[in-house]
Structure formats: structure tokens, C-alpha cells
């Protein structure tokens, strides 16, 4: 796996493979919906929803060690309009969206 690292959640699963698969299923099923909500919110300039949804999925991303987008998800979860321009937000969302799509593809290949 290139973009994520399952070591941490495997360790937490404590050998319970069924739980590990169910956890991956949850990520695969719910994270695209969350990203869709973020993109729609950006279109409506609803920054509060962007912050809330980013905060919600932040720990899933940390748990799967998707380190390439950890700064972006943190920035969105703290969304400070004085520090981030609309362009910054758009770039962060795009990067997160592309990376998550690839991670999901990898996870599906691993656990079809």
C-alpha cells in the first residue's frame, strides 16, 4: 500500500480480522460521502460545515496514516479564513479528494 498504512489499525484490532475488515468497510463507505459534503459546502461557501466535516473524518485519516494529506485535513478542521484563502481551501479539498479516492481503490483491491 502506497498511500496508507494499516499497521496501526491492525495493532488495534488485536488479531480480530473481522473487525479490521468492518473498519475498512466503514471508511470506504462513509468517507466519499463526507468528501462530497465538503465539496458541496465549498461551492456554497459554507465554511462552518467544511470545518465540522473535516474535524469528523480527521481521526479516520490519522488512523490509516494517510500522511500526505494530514496537514490539509488539519487545516480544514481548524479552518481559519484569516489564514486560508479560497484558493488554499480549494487546493486542500482537491488534494484530499484525489488521495482518498486512491486510498479507497487500494483498500478495495486489498479487501475486495
Amino acid at each position: 500500500m502506497e498511500l496508507c498504512d494499516l499497521t496501526y489499525i491492525k495493532h488495534l484490532s488485536n488479531g480480530d480480522n473481522e473487525f479490521l475488515i468492518s473498519l475498512i468497510d466503514i471508511f470506504v463507505k462513509h468517507t466519499p460521502d463526507a468528501l462530497e459534503e465538503i465539496k458541496l459546502s465549498y461551492a456554497k461557501k459554507d465554511y462552518e460545515t467544511i470545518r465540522r466535516v473535516a474535524h469528523r473524518i480527521k481521526l479516520s485519516i490519522y488512523s490509516l496514516k494517510i500522511n500526505t494529506i494530514s496537514n490539509e485535513i488539519k487545516a480544514l478542521s481548524l479552518l481559519d479564513k484569516e489564514k486560508l484563502t479560497d484558493y488554499d481551501i480549494k487546493c486542500a479539498i482537491t488534494k484530499i479528494d484525489i488521495t482518498i479516492s486512491k486510498v479507497i481503490q487500494e483498500l478495495k483491491e486489498l479487501h475486495p
Binding site: 489499525i9 488495534l12 474535524h55 469528523r56 480527521k58 481521526l59 479516520s60 490519522y62 488512523s63
Partner: protein, 448 residues
């Protein structure tokens, strides 16, 4: 029964992860809810702990916490938040959150530790409640002040009157009659039983430390006062202050105590701020306080402040058959404490117990019975198992042969000691003239 723990987390991935992780502890019974509404709908399950994500979709964490506390104020709430602002954390803790955890990589470990701490707290609270209940049982006077004599029944009536009000109570009686037991019985049976009972033995505290001990002191009030110290009066706020051996107070401190009782406020040593207090005062002494007033050793105005409802604890020798009732009770306690079968008294043992004067009262009787339980064989206590060792008992009295006059003087001396040199009481008790006693005191045959 497991520690019922609710997790309210809108991220299903992280929620499941937390649930799985916490469930590794078999003592945790974990349920997961994805929003505040579902959590509130399940509050009937009476969770011990609710872990709340601050940024829930349907309500903020602080709002959910308030609703949880409204339903059950005893539910512990942990807030998990990504706010990363100290001010938010402080506000949440002030509003009643038990802990605040920042959402991050080590959230679940912090949550685990926080739950363990709360579990410890819950167990301690439970233990304290059980101890309080035990104290209430221990000082339930009807079960624990043993006796059926007219003298002790009169005391029971007065205790009942004291329990129903918050009147100050003054208890007098010889040593070993159970003055502190009565003070505790009044407190733990009264409406302020859940507030502190603070006992101070005035005879045991050096006079130079007494003021600081009673009223507390401010930091720097005197050499060695490195921290502010709260005194006994303040500790007794809303409860009962029991001043044992109050007759031992020196006159200087008596005026300060009088002021505290009159104004219902105190000043710590070195302090300038008046501290308002409310407590019931129970005092005890083995001396005749009115005599102390007449002898100018106790302030009259303080006497009237503390006297309240006077309860006189009868000496054991005036409690008729209570000696045997108590002796039986003490054997039962001894049996229970040592996991032994019950003891019985032979007739000669009962007679011997009834004939003794018990200058040490109930305390002395208990020591005698405990020793007899150890000394006897086959759980039957006979006269030979009963040993009187206190000073002033009848055996000592007859040890040296004396003249009738010497016996008379000795009897009067012993009675004067027993009644704190209250000449009138002794004259009445012995049915002799007061002048006889005054003459013995005057010519030095009896010394104070």
C-alpha cells in the same frame, strides 16, 4: 456489572475504533451513538460515563452535556474536541465536564485513562456513601447507647429532643460515661448528619496552639505559618462542632469563643476578613460548669451561650441493672470481633459486677468484661475471671484498717472528688451537714 460507557461520535470509523478499543477492557460496557439525540434517547440505560465529541452534527458537545446532566446529574461526561483552545477546555470543565480530551493521535489512550480515573472516582464515592451509612448505623443511639435504666432512658428523651432541633447541647458526666458517643449520636441522627462532625479535645491541645487550631491562621500570621490553615470552627460549618473538656479552656480564649458564638463569625489568626459560620455546638465536660463559673474559672456569659440543652450522663453505678445489660452487650461484641461463640455469666460473676462502683464507668466495665472473656474457660465467666484494677474501688478502700473517723473522711474526700468539690451536692448525697465538709476542708484534712 460493567461500567456503562456511551460514546457519542459522528465519525463512524473512529466511533467503531473507540468502541472496539475500550471494549478490550471487560469491565467497560460500551455503546456507540452517532449523534446527541440518539444518546439522549438512551439515557434511560443510566450510563456511568458519556464520552461526547464536541462537534456533533445535531448539537454542540456543551449543549449535549447540559442535557445529559439535566437527566442524570451523576453521569460523568468526557468531552473530546478538536477546538485546541485552552479557554474552551476550561469553560467545559467549569460547566461540569469531568475531563477534556483533544482530538488527536492519542485520543483513545487518553480516553481509556480518563475512564479508569472516573471509575476510581465512582468507586470512591460509593465507598464514602457506604461509610456514611455505616456511621449512621454506628451512631444510631437507640441501638448503640445500651441500657434500660430510668437514668439512661431520661438521657434518651433529651437526645431525641436535641436531634429534632439545632439547639446547642452541653453534656456533663464523669469520665467514661459516653459523652462523645452521645455527641456523635445527636449529630449523626440530626438533619445535618451529612455535614462534618468536628471534635476537639480542649485538654489535649497546648494553650499556645489553641487559637490557631480553633480559628485557623493566615499564611505568615506567625513564624512557621507557611500556609493558610483552616481551623476547627470553619471545618464544622453547616455541621457540628464538639468541644470536649470545655472547662479546660483558658479565660483569654473563652472570650474569643464567646465572640465567635455571639456573632457567628470568626477571624483567622492574622486575618482581617470575617468568616460567617453556621454550626451546632456541643460541649462536654466532666466538671460541674456552674461551679467553675462560681470559682471564676469559666465566664458566666459563655456558660449561658454553651449550656443550651443540658444532658447529664449518669454514672454507671446509678444505672441499676444496666451494668449487666452492658456486660452482656460487651461479651457479644467480643465474640463477634473474635469469631467466638457467646459467653455467659455465672451468678457469682453477676453479683461481683453489680457490687463494684465503676469510677471509670462504661469504659472501665468494657475493659473488665474484655479481660474476663480472655481469662474464662468454656465461655462461662465466673467471679474469679473478673478483676477490678481501677483506682478507688471498694477493695482498695478496705485494704488498710482505719478508724471510723478516718473512714468517714475518706468517704467524704472520694465524694468531693467525684462531684468536683460541690459541697452542697456531696452533703445531700451523704446526708450530712455542709459544715462538716467545710470544717474538713478548712482544717486541711481534705485538700483540694
Amino acid at each position: 456489572m460493567g461500567l456503562r460507557t456511551f460514546i457519542v461520535e459522528d465519525d463512524p470509523f473512529y466511533g467503531e475504533l473507540l468502541k472496539h478499543y475500550l471494549s478490550l477492557n471487560k469491565e467497560f460496557d460500551v455503546s456507540l451513538f452517532k449523534n446527541g439525540r440518539d444518546c439522549l434517547n438512551n439515557m434511560y440505560k443510566k450510563p456511568h460515563i458519556v464520552s461526547v465529541d464536541f462537534g456533533l452534527p445535531d448539537m454542540r458537545g456543551d449543549v449535549l452535556m447540559k442535557k445529559i446532566k439535566d437527566i442524570n446529574p451523576y453521569t460523568h461526561v468526557i468531552i473530546i474536541s478538536g477546538q485546541e483552545e485552552i479557554a474552551v477546555a476550561v469553560e467545559l470543565l467549569k460547566s461540569g465536564a469531568d475531563d477534556y480530551i483533544e482530538k488527536g493521535n492519542n485520543t483513545k489512550e487518553l480516553l481509556w485513562n480518563s475512564i479508569l480515573k472516573i471509575q476510581e472516582k465512582i468507586e470512591l464515592i460509593k465507598e464514602i456513601e457506604e461509610l456514611k451509612e455505616q456511621i449512621n448505623i454506628k451512631y444510631d443511639f437507640e441501638k448503640n447507647i445500651i441500657g434500660r435504666s430510668a437514668a439512661i432512658r431520661k438521657t434518651f428523651t433529651l437526645i431525641e429532643k436535641a436531634i429534632k432541633t439545632s439547639i446547642n447541647v452541653s453534656i456533663t458526666g464523669e469520665t467514661g460515661t459516653g459523652k462523645e458517643l452521645v455527641a456523635k449520636a445527636i449529630h449523626y441522627s440530626s438533619s445535618s448528619k451529612n455535614s462534618p462532625f468536628v471534635a476537639v479535645d480542649m485538654a489535649a491541645i497546648p494553650s499556645e496552639l489553641m487559637e490557631s487550631e480553633l480559628f485557623g491562621h493566615e499564611k505568615g500570621a506567625f513564624t512557621g505559618a507557611v500556609t493558610t490553615n483552616i481551623g476547627k470552627f470553619e471545618r464544622a460549618h453547616c455541621g457540628t462542632l464538639f468541644l470536649d473538656e470545655i472547662a479546660e479552656l483558658d479565660l483569654n480564649l473563652q472570650s474569643k469563643i464567646l465572640r465567635a458564638l455571639q456573632e457567628k463569625e470568626i477571624y483567622r489568626v492574622g486575618g482581617t476578613k470575617a468568616i460567617k459560620l453556621n454550626f451546632r455546638l456541643i460541649t462536654a465536660t466532666h466538671k460541674n460548669l456552674m461551679n467553675e463559673v462560681q470559682e471564676k474559672r469559666f465566664r458566666e456569659d459563655l456558660y449561658y451561650r454553651v449550656i443550651g440543652l443540658p444532658i447529664v450522663m449518669p454514672p454507671l453505678r446509678d444505672r441499676d441493672n444496666d451494668i449487666l445489660v452492658l456486660a452482656k452487650h460487651f461479651t457479644e461484641v467480643f465474640s463477634k470481633e473474635n469469631s467466638l461463640q457467646n459467653f455467659t455469666f455465672s451468678t457469682d460473676a453477676k453479683d461481683k459486677l453489680m457490687q463494684h462502683a465503676y469510677p471509670g464507668n462504661v469504659r472501665e466495665l468494657k475493659a473488665i468484661v474484655d479481660l474476663a472473656c480472655v481469662m474464662c474457660t468454656d465461655f462461662l465467666i465466673t467471679a474469679s475471671d473478673i478483676t477490678f484494677s481501677s483506682t478507688g474501688n471498694s477493695d482498695d478502700f478496705w485494704e488498710n484498717e482505719r478508724t471510723i473517723k478516718e473512714y468517714n473522711t475518706e468517704i467524704i474526700r472520694r465524694f468531693l472528688n467525684r462531684y468536683n468539690f460541690d459541697v452542697i451536692s456531696v452533703a445531700n448525697k451523704l446526708d450530712i451537714g455542709k459544715s462538716t465538709i467545710y470544717n474538713l476542708l478548712k482544717n486541711g484534712e481534705i485538700k483540694k
